[in-house]
Symmetry: C2
Subunit: 80 residues, 2 copies
Amino acid sequence: MKAIVHINPRSGVLDPQGQAVAGALKHLGFAGVLGARQGKVIELDLADIDAEQAREQVTKMCEQLLANTVIEDYSVQIEP
Amino acid sequence: MKAIVHINPRSGVLDPQGQAVAGALKHLGFAGVLGARQGKVIELDLADIDAEQAREQVTKMCEQLLANTVIEDYSVQIEP
C-alpha cells in the first residue's frame, strides 16, 4: 500500500525557498513569474494494512516527524 | 494562472532524503514503513498567458533551474 503525503508551508507563513525560486526565475528572464511556493511530497511504501489504519498511522508520522505543524500544512492520500 | 511542478528523484537513483525519512520513521516505531521517496512541489503564480505558452515556459524553467534532470524527473500541470 502506498501513502502520499503533501507538505506545504501554511498560507501566510514566509516561504524563503519559494521566494528564492521566484527570484532566481526572474533573474533568468522569466518575467511572468509573480510568485512561487515550495512544498514537499513524501511517498511511503507501507506493509499491507487496512486503508483506515494506514491513514491513522501516516497522520501520526506527520505529526511526529514529517511536518512542522507550526509552519506547515499536510495532507495524506492513501493509495491501494 | 497557476502552474504546479512535481519534481521527484528518478526511479533507480539513490534518494538519500527518502532513505533518511524511512530510517527515522522505523526508529520511531513505525515498523510498517518499507520505504520512502521524497520529492518537491513548486507552485508558480504566473501572469495571465495562454495555457500552452505557460506549459512551454514552465518546462523551460524546469530544464534551466528547477529540476536536475540527471537525477530528477519533473511533470508540469497548468491550472487556470
